[in-house]
């Protein structure tokens, strides 16, 4: 890569924008930590878990160096971490935590509590596979298992996006009064150094002013929060939460464009499209797999294949409109899930399918499972998937496992079979 190319890339990645204070080559976890510093978070509560530890270690350093005036509560569990954040947030403060996998699962009850209390807590979750067996590597089952807790969920593709999304997240969360989880892939982002533009504090301050809590525990205006409620009003409370999540779609889009104006970087809101002009076959996926897919798409495009890519950035709220609009334009949609809902399918696939059921145009939909427990997703993996899409009019089964090691071909006996696999035994 020549110097000019590098500069182009820097420009493209917003590294040369006037808002940039400095560019650091840092791990994804540290990108999160710097975002927390810039967001002037007041209370941090966290418990260490691999591969999240970088976040809390860096934050400990930031706080102890007084680069951030915050209380860092080094709790004895993730459960307490979330409870502390809930407490801090209901007091009116800006709160942050970070976790991963088992830690997130332990928080589960309190994820409901945070959302039900309508608290704009921001959490970074480093996606790691669930045990047993123990694994410290990436997949998305941990966070996607929390999809019904009422949290907004973002999946980041790069360390820069981690930083940018944390900053956006506070603005979104404090606008719609919902907590937000920013997910990044274990090791692929968490422990991989990339250049990250660190914005100037004053620009961040303009973008993200101090939190003004709508409701808080205030002795001057005492309320009891979260008491018993009867069937006559519980449902309305749930409707309110549902509605807030609906409203969040527009807020996410708006905040992203506002962010773009201030910092020169945009992620498209709920989704980001790549090479979608005249695309007939599109792959939907999320997180770091998107970067890998970009390479595969570039290659396939250069060979003349009408392929495109759609990055699912927000899983909650789910990009319903974006997907329905996409369906108008393409023939086939493949969804690559780095997760599996046992007894069903990959979760993004499942939801995409659900969105399209009532859509006026319904292209063929393919569901792929790949990269569980840190299995590499390479450009070859993606190309295999595109190849499958190009070569099949319809999926052979509801889940197509990519790269599964098997002595035999895992092929469906018929159209109704629930799974198929390719990649390991077959060269498409």
């Amino acid at each position: 890569m020549g110097m000019n190319d590098t500069n182009d890339l820097r420009k493209k990645n917003g590294l040369m924008h006037p808002s940039v204070d400095k560019v650091l080559v840092i791990e994804g976890t540290h990108a999160a930590s710097h975002a927390v510093r810039l967001a002037k978070v007041q209370v941090i509560a966290a418990y260490p878990i691999t591969p999240q530890t970088g976040v809390v270690e860096k934050l400990s350093e930031i706080v102890s160096h007084r680069e951030l005036n915050a209380k860092f509560i080094k709790v004895e569990s993730e459960h307490s971490a979330m409870a502390c954040c809930i407490g801090a947030s209901i007091s009116g403060a800006r709160a942050f935590t970070a976790t991963s996998s088992q830690g997130l699962a332990l928080m589960h009850e309190l994820l409901h509590w945070a959302a039900g209390s309508r608290l704009p807590i921001v959490m970074v979750n480093v996606n790691r596979a669930m045990a047993p067996p123990w694994s410290i590597y990436v997949d998305h089952n941990d966070s996607l298992s929390q999809r019904d807790t009422g949290w907004i969920q973002f999946y980041a593709e790069s360390n820069q996006e981690v930083l940018d999304t944390v900053l956006q997240a506070y603005k979104i969360a404090e606008t719609v009064s919902l907590p937000i989880m920013i997910n990044l892939d274990a090791f692929v982002l968490s422990h991989t150094s990339e250049p990250v533009a660190i914005p100037k504090q004053e620009v961040v301050d303009e973008f993200l002013p101090e939190r003004k809590a709508l409701f808080k525990v205030d002795p001057a205006e005492p309320h009891a929060f979260g008491a018993l409620i009867g069937p006559e009003a519980y449902m309305e409370m749930r409707y309110k939460l549902f509605q807030a999540m609906e409203d969040a779609r527009e807020v996410i889009r708006r905040v992203d464009s506002e962010y773009s104006e201030k910092f020169g970087r945009s992620y498209g809101g709920l989704v980001e499209e790549y090479c979608m002009e005249d695309a007939e076959i599109v792959l939907m996926t999320s997180a770091t797999a998107v970067s890998t897919a970009r390479i595969a798409v570039d290659e396939l495009r250069s060979l003349g294949f009408p392929v495109g890519l759609m990055k699912v950035r927000a899983f909650r709220p789910f990009p319903v409109d974006e997907i329905r609009e996409l369906a108008q334009r393409v023939h086939k949609i493949g969804v690559m899930d780095r997760n599996i809902s046992f007894g069903a399918t990959g979760m993004i696939y499942q939801e995409t399918k659900a969105v399209l059921y009532n859509a006026s145009v319904r292209p063929k939909l393919f569901g792929f499972i790949a990269g569980l427990g840190g299995r590499d997703i390479t450009p070859e993996t993606i190309k295999d998937i595109y190849s499958y899409l190009l070569n099949h009019d319809a999926p052979e089964s509801e889940t197509i496992w990519v790269g599964l090691k098997s002595g035999q071909e895992v092929r469906p006996e018929g159209g109704n079979a629930s799974s198929a696999a390719f990649g390991q035994n077959e060269n498409v």
């Binding site: 309508r118 709508l214 409701f215 309320h223 929060f225 008491a227 006559e232 009003a233 409370m237 409707y239």
Partner: protein
């Protein structure tokens, strides 16, 4: 947050939170029993013949309201300075604190209150003489004074006829100065007079005042007391050197010193006997009290017996006089017989029975006989119904002759004490008022009396009864000055603080303190108010009330 309501989704806040207090929720509907404040009688006030409201005046003392406390006593007894000194205080015998540690020294508090107001002439005069009827009272002893005072307070003009030169009856002439200084008596008689009671001294009915004089009155109260000593009915009773107790004390109280020898005996076990014996000591002579039963049967106030003993009076029990013999008309020997206690008599005390052949003789030069007193009713013109030596009266103190009432020691059912005379005067005044048509007898249901086990003694740490300040024995026996002293303010406060105040709320806030439902508060006047909209009827307030001034009553079930 006024914009929010939990009605429609539009009006509801984004998260569930409270908009108002639970005060709106009428949790009182859960209740099936209801606590109420219900005052009860303390055993002491029931035990007080005069019916003094002891817990109430104690509370006033507790709050330093000595004048109000005095006024409270005066409702029932115009002579607190007198009774505070000489009353045998049956109230204390009933005191619920007795079984717990030591009974309250009620009489000392009464005396304290009276003495605090010794220079206070500000009585709570009830009004002018708005009643036209006039009433005569014969005798200015405690019964007569009490009756006259109560009648005056009810609005009557009252005249007391007193045969002696000064009013007071036995209070003046029967009780020695060292027990009841005359200035105390004079002060309280002055108080009674200040209520408009007219006392006509040197006016003996049947003597210088004819009975017919009384015809101008609408009612008469006869309270001449019992002033004649009962005879021993033994030979030699008329010898020189033999006195009756009444006579002996009368002389002393008139400022004369009766002649006594060196070997003095007093016969009898009542207060007159003790008063006489202690007076003899003060005349510088040794004295022995001879009594036919034992110490525990002595009718005298136990403290008085103790005091007498302390001062050096000797006692000889279970002996009775058989004969007095003289030498040249002067008594020189007394023959006594030993007794033993037999079956109980009608007074409940065991009857003394002579032991045959136990006679013995003591050399004496003075014998004071104090075996009881009887009224002198010779002045009565009509054939009044009598019972024994006394005028018969019914429970309303009526003699049966319309308009003529009697009470105190000259009428039936006396017990020879000041306080019972005061009670008779007070109750007779009510009967007279009723007889004259002014007052319908209002008989409220009798209040329950608080029992010792109903007191929540947790709230009362054990504390000693106040020690009565007293003149040293050495000095006390050489003077007729008052022996016992008034307790100090601090002592009085300590003693009233010991009082359980059985059945009378002291606003101690215990009920309020322990209410889990925050349903008890105080109004502007400082009285407790129970919020029945929220009281769940747990009963803690009633159970914890230290003094049983509350009660739980069943709620009427309401079927909705």
């Amino acid at each position: 947050m006024g914009q929010y309501k939990f009605t429609t989704v539009e009006e509801m806040p984004p998260l569930a939170f409270s908009l108002e207090s639970t005060r709106k929720i009428p949790t009182g509907s859960w209740r099936h029993v209801r606590p109420i404040y219900k005052e009860k009688s303390s055993p002491c006030e029931i035990g007080c013949p005069a019916g003094e409201n002891i817990p109430q005046y104690f509370d006033l003392v507790r709050n330093g309201k000595y004048e109000e406390a005095w006024h409270k006593i005066l409702e029932d007894n115009p002579l607190p300075g007198v009774t505070g000194r000489v009353c045998y205080h049956p109230c204390e015998g009933q005191c619920n604190r007795g079984p717990y540690d030591e009974e309250i020294a009620i009489h000392n508090i009464e005396r304290f209150v009276a003495d605090k107001n010794f220079r206070n002439r500000n009585l709570p005069r009830s009004g002018e003489f708005h009643k036209s009827e006039k009433i005569a009272v014969i005798g200015s002893g405690p019964a007569g004074l009490s009756c006259a005072y109560q009648l005056a307070r009810k609005g009557y003009r009252v005249v007391i006829y007193e045969s002696e030169h000064e009013p007071g009856g036995m209070l003046r002439y029967g009780i020695p100065h060292y027990r009841l200084p005359k200035n105390i008596l004079n002060k309280e008689i002055g108080d009674i007079k200040s209520q408009g009671v007219d006392i006509s001294v040197d006016s003996k009915i049947g003597g210088n005042v004819a009975w017919t004089e009384l015809e101008k009155y609408d009612a008469v109260f006869v309270a001449v007391g019992a002033t004649s000593s009962r005879k021993m009915e033994v030979d030699g009773e008329d010898l020189q050197g033999v006195y009756s107790g009444v006579e002996f004390l009368y002389e002393l109280n008139n400022g004369r010193k009766p002649k006594v020898g060196n070997r003095v005996v007093v016969i009898g076990g009542g207060n007159t006997a003790i008063d006489a014996a202690r007076s003899v000591l003060r005349l510088g002579k040794k004295v022995t009290v001879l009594y036919r039963r034992t110490r525990s049967e002595m009718p005298a106030v136990p403290e008085e017996i103790e005091e007498a003993e302390k001062e050096g009076v000797k006692f000889e029990f279970l002996v009775a006089p058989e004969e007095l013999t003289g030498n040249r008309g002067k008594v020189s020997k007394i023959e006594l017989i030993r007794m033993k206690l037999g079956e109980p008599d009608e007074s409940g005390r065991r009857k003394p029975v002579p032991l045959r052949n136990s006679n013995f003789t003591l050399p004496v030069d003075t014998v004071i006989s104090a075996i009881g007193e009887a009224p002198d009713l010779s002045f009565l013109p009509y054939s009044f119904l009598k019972k024994g030596v006394r005028i018969f009266v019914d429970e309303n103190y009526s003699t049966g002759v319309p308009g003529i009432f009697a009470g105190g020691d000259s009428a039936t059912n006396p017990n020879g004490t000041v306080v019972n005379a005061i009670r008779a005067g007070k109750e007779a005044a009510i009967s007279i008022d009723e007889f004259l048509g002014w007052r319908a007898k209002s008989d409220g249901a009798p209040r329950e009396i608080v029992k010792p086990e109903e007191i929540n003694t947790f709230y009362f740490p054990h504390e000693k009864r106040v020690k009565i300040p007293r003149m040293k024995v050495d000095s006390s026996v050489s003077t007729f000055k008052e022996v016992n002293k008034t307790i100090s303010d601090a002592q009085a406060l300590e003693e009233v603080e010991r009082c359980f105040s059985c059945g009378t709320c002291l606003h101690c806030d215990v009920c309020m303190t322990f209410c889990p439902d925050v349903a008890i508060s105080k109004d502007e006047a400082g009285e407790y108010v129970i919020d029945y909209d929220h009281c769940k009827g747990c009963g803690i307030c009633v159970n914890e009330c230290p003094r049983e001034a509350m009660e739980l009553v069943e709620e009427e079930t309401q079927w909705v």
